[in-house]
């Protein structure tokens, strides 16, 4: 399924855990240290460096771009480290997260409550994923280096829906289907 950002509730409601998607448009990039600052800004009632309504945050810290390239290797980082921050951003209107690995129950519940989805990208496929990034710029927190907040323009960014708004979880489905312990 092809998705274009920003995401609307109508589109999100169509997504089911396990669906393969191809994302085109603007996505924002932030990981541990940037999340800490975003949530601190929300707590202080300050505006965020970008308007989160309908947007996707990609948990990622890229490798430096070589001359002429928009970005270096650009695969997902492990998402659970952002679990304590994610519900606040969904409250502020965030509609999508891209990362890898399992989310906590509070995050999954917040996704159902705020109609947001969590996509898994292929961890360790940073060179492949970089091909879908057409433009990248640091928009805030430059002092954080690899952890700075970035704005990307992507075309056909490949991902799989891990958690949908109905409580579905592609990792749990996979385990159920392929477990051979009994």
């Amino acid at each position: 399924m092809n998705l274009t950002t920003p995401l609307t509730d109508e589109v999100i409601e169509q997504l089911r855990a396990g669906d393969k998607v191809s994302i085109t448009g603007v996505i924002y990039v932030g990981r541990d240290a940037a999340h800490k600052r975003l949530v601190a800004a929300l707590d202080a009632g300050e505006p965020l460096p970008f308007e989160p309504q309908g947007q996707i945050i990609y948990y990622m810290g890229p490798a430096p771009a070589k001359p002429g390239d928009p970005i270096g290797s650009a695969g997902p980082t492990t998402s659970y480290r952002m679990d304590s921050y994610a519900p606040r951003l969904m409250e502020a209107g965030l509609k999508g997260m891209i990362g890898k690995g399992n989310r906590s129950m509070p995050v999954r519940e917040a996704m159902q409550r705020h109609k947001a989805v969590y996509f898994g990208a292929i961890g360790g496929a940073g060179a492949l994923i970089a091909k879908s990034v057409k433009k990248a710029e640091v928009i805030a927190y430059d002092d954080l280096g690899a952890e700075a907040l970035r704005r990307l323009e992507v075309i056909d960014f490949p991902a799989i829906v891990v958690n949908d708004v109905y409580g579905g979880d592609a990792y749990e489905d996979g385990l159920q289907r392929y477990n051979r312990e009994r």
């Binding site: 890229p62 290797s73 695969g75 399992n102 060179a127 385990l175």
Partner: protein, 281 residues
């Protein structure tokens, strides 16, 4: 006594940092291909294909396999007849890391004071260096960048001697289950059994330097490796956690004698981007 100049060491380390991040070893590639053929999950096969394609792109475009170019772990096997001249050995290795990460467009992922400032050092220093003194007049340098996602899934269990072989197997299997999709499966499971707490962890990490698909030279340990691998691949986590038969490409176990009261078991998980390159000076 053989002399080795610190400049030689710096140059070698810089080159190994770049090469390990750009080129996946043939052993890992062969294992990925073999598991790709045996995988029954369609998504699993697709993920493995993309991981293989990623390795080709990284090699052809000369870019890192993964944006997480790791904390730089360096294993040194220093011959006791070697004399290091013109500087500080550890500093010459750190210089090699700084140089390699800058010249190779590798991501710098190290931060200062872990529990407070966490300011990026901007050159990926300092490396973690493990030095072993060995007979001879050579210096072997192994550079093994380690990603944070898989390293975070490490576990240490101070088991009771009564827990025995089954206790070891269960501890490793449960560590892999708990890690789930987080460490970028398919993984290589490094296991250290015995010694002290820190020795067990060293063994677990050191075991990851072995070629993927090569069993322990100790038949009893090799049998344990095979049994744990079978158990781990029955869980069903699969490539990237989307379900399948390929959760681990290999299980490597190293052992060491231990105290009458103890049975330390350490698990150090390696993601599929199993990077390490070495040189002998």
């Amino acid at each position: 006594m053989k002399e080795i100049h610190t400049d030689q060491i710096t140059q070698a380390v810089a080159r190994l940092c770049v090469e390990s991040n750009y080129y996946l070893g043939d052993d890992v590639l062969s294992a990925l291909r073999a598991y790709r053929e045996a995988e029954v999950s369609p998504v699993g096969r697709e993920v493995l294909d993309q991981i293989l394609e990623n390795a080709e792109i990284a090699r052809d475009q000369q870019m890192p396999l993964c944006q997480d170019c790791g904390l730089t772990v360096v294993f040194l096997e220093l011959g006791q007849e070697v004399h290091i001249v013109s500087g500080d050995l550890n500093e010459s290795i750190a210089d090699g890391v700084r140089q390699g990460y800058e010249e190779g467009y590798l991501r710098k992922s190290m931060v200062t004071q872990p529990f407070s400032a966490r300011v990026n050092t901007r050159d990926n220093s300092p490396p973690v260096i493990h030095t072993t003194i060995v007979p001879g007049d050579r210096l072997k340098i192994i550079v093994a960048p380690k990603g944070g996602g898989s390293e975070n899934m490490s576990q240490l269990g101070m088991l009771k001697p009564a827990d025995g072989r089954e206790g070891v197997i269960n501890f490793v299997v449960e560590s892999v289950r708990k890690a789930g999709a987080n460490p970028c499966p398919p993984i290589i499971v490094g296991v250290g059994v015995g010694g002290s707490a820190e020795k067990a962890m060293w063994l677990a990490k050191h075991s990851l330097l072995r070629k993927v698909g090569e069993s322990s030279s100790d038949p009893e340990v090799a049998e344990l490796e095979a049994e744990i691998l079978d158990r781990v691949n029955r869980i069903g986590i699969g490539p990237q956690g989307f379900g399948g038969l390929t959760t681990a490409l290999a299980v490597h176990v190293e052992t060491f004698p231990c105290h009458i009261a103890s049975m330390p078991v350490a698990v150090n998980i390696q993601c599929h981007s199993a990077r390490h390159k070495e040189v002998v000076l």
